[in-house]
């Protein structure tokens, strides 16, 4: 792509360095900004710089946060006896969107994968142990992807938690809502049959 202006070229390259944005989309965004008031661009740039400058990781759960302790951890209405262990902050957002969970979170920062150089000490596992040792937590829910590395992480954590007085559970795995059985993959369907649940009639 040829640019008539060095300034535009630099701005396009900056946008294009972001995930899922190609050169053409980047150019469209840049041209859009040129047509806006200067103020708009100023606010836009300021929002990004401010965000990057002040964003923190929560001291307790390692979720992303504006303050030293995040909104979830500092919310007195939440159930402090249940902790949901997740890989990353996007999982926190996904579970929050369900409005089905009123406990606290613990973000590990990934899953154990020695091939990629990630061992247990590279994750916030010790921090989780310390939280549990304080005694307030009664149940740990593992909400980790059902991949081989996810399974390793769940296995590993359960071993570490064995001697602590907490209940360990994992989120259910099975056929998705609105899905049809014949289209479920064999592994999922097989697991769903093995790990079936008693049927309750709500009266």
């Amino acid at each position: 792509m040829n640019f008539s202006s060095k300034l535009i070229e630099e701005a396009v390259n900056a946008f294009a360095s972001l995930p899922s944005i190609g050169k053409k989309t980047a150019l469209r965004l840049v041209l859009h900004l040129i047509n806006q008031d200067k103020e708009v661009t100023g606010q836009f740039a300021e929002a990004i710089v401010k965000m990057r400058e002040h964003i923190k990781h929560c001291e307790i759960c390692h979720n992303i946060s504006d303050l030293a302790v995040c909104e979830i951890c500092s919310d007195a209405r939440r159930d402090r006896s249940v902790v949901c262990v997740v890989e990353g902050i996007r999982d926190v957002m996904a579970i929050e969107d369900t409005s089905q969970f009123r406990g606290l979170y613990h973000v590990l920062g990934g899953v154990i994968s020695p091939i990629e150089g990630i061992g247990p000490s590279d994750l916030y596992i010790d921090a989780l142990m310390q939280r549990i040792q304080k005694g307030e937590i009664k149940e740990v829910i593992m909400a980790i992807s059902p991949t081989i590395e996810g399974d390793t992480t769940i296995f590993y954590l359960s071993k570490k938690l064995k001697d602590m007085k907490v209940k360990v559970s994992t989120i259910a795995r099975g056929v998705s809502f609105g899905g049809e059985l014949e289209y479920a993959d064999e592994l999922t369907l097989g697991r769903s049959i093995v790990a079936r649940v008693p049927y309750r009639i709500n009266e």
């Binding site: 020695p114 150089g117 061992g119 081989i148 390793t152 296995f155 590993y156 071993k159 064999e186």
Partner: protein, 379 residues
Amino acid sequence: MTTKIINQKKSLFLNLEKLILTNFKNYTSERVNFSPTLNAIVGKNGMGKTNLLDAIYYLCMSKSNFSGNDRNVVQKTHDFFRLEGQFKRKEKKEKIVVKVIPGKQKIIERNGTAYSKLADHIGLFPVVIIAPDDTSLVTEGSEARRRFLDNTLSQSDPNYLTQLMRYNKVIRQRNAALKNMAIQHRFNATLIKTYDQQLLEPAALIFEKRKSFLEKIDPIFNEFYQKIAAHQETVQFNYKSKLIENSLEELLEENLEKDRILQRTTAGIHKDDLAFHLDNSPLKQFASQGQIKSFVLALKLAQFDFLKKIKNTSPILLLDDIFDKLDSSRVKQLLDLLLKNDFGQIFITDTHETRVEEIVKDLKIGYKKMEIKDGQCID
């Protein structure tokens, strides 16, 4: 008794009707039509007879039988290859298309829809290839023999392939963990134990499947050998796995110190092997070239028979340079045996122009001869 070898139940037919090759090895652009029964592919050495068989194999197994790297499959000076196979399977037409850009992408489509996992394709179009380099089963290391087991069982049982991939992935993670721990001088026993636990389930399943497969093919294998070799010697194979005597849990524990030093997992089903014997002596040291050839041929035919029974479909049979293994009269006897028993679609390559024809003449079956010259097919 041939009736004992192949069950009489009419199996569902699988055959390749048409093959279209683009930039595949020495084929730039070629279309070939096949007979549903016997296809004789003749031509001089280096003309592309084996490549044609490999194209059929690729459509069924999503990889080449001869080269692990697709860069060696694509025609030189081109950056992609494409294969299209028009099959008939369970009385329905099926179109399989393979599109590969080496190092970039491999797409396999079944009736216009691309697979999200290539593993889902394996086993739908069963295939057995018999080629001169099969003797590597005897002469080479244990990896060749495990590949034989995995090739058969992946085709017969989709869960086998899933579990094998799972097992291999955990082994790679465990080995990486051992290596990282050695570099950092910090051993984490809990993590290694975690991997051990994760290996148990897939290992147990793979072990059971391998064992049961070998038990099932044992009698057929012997019958085939007697027929092909017409010798009086007895042949046998034994499954060699440490899991026969110990549980994997014990083995991993016993070998932990060794694993830590070598920084890799030294025991498990990834070390399984087969021991081949001729009259109770190791085959490799005591058998003649001819006996080794007959042995691997019988083994491959037993594989064919096993897949046929499990799938209730005759796999496509690719016989590459079969005359290298057997003389004309034996090939005749073999074809007689194969064709009389509902053997499905067969492809034979030969350098001799009329040899297959002469053999087939008395058998009264449908047959097509095609000549291959420099990557082109002359009907």
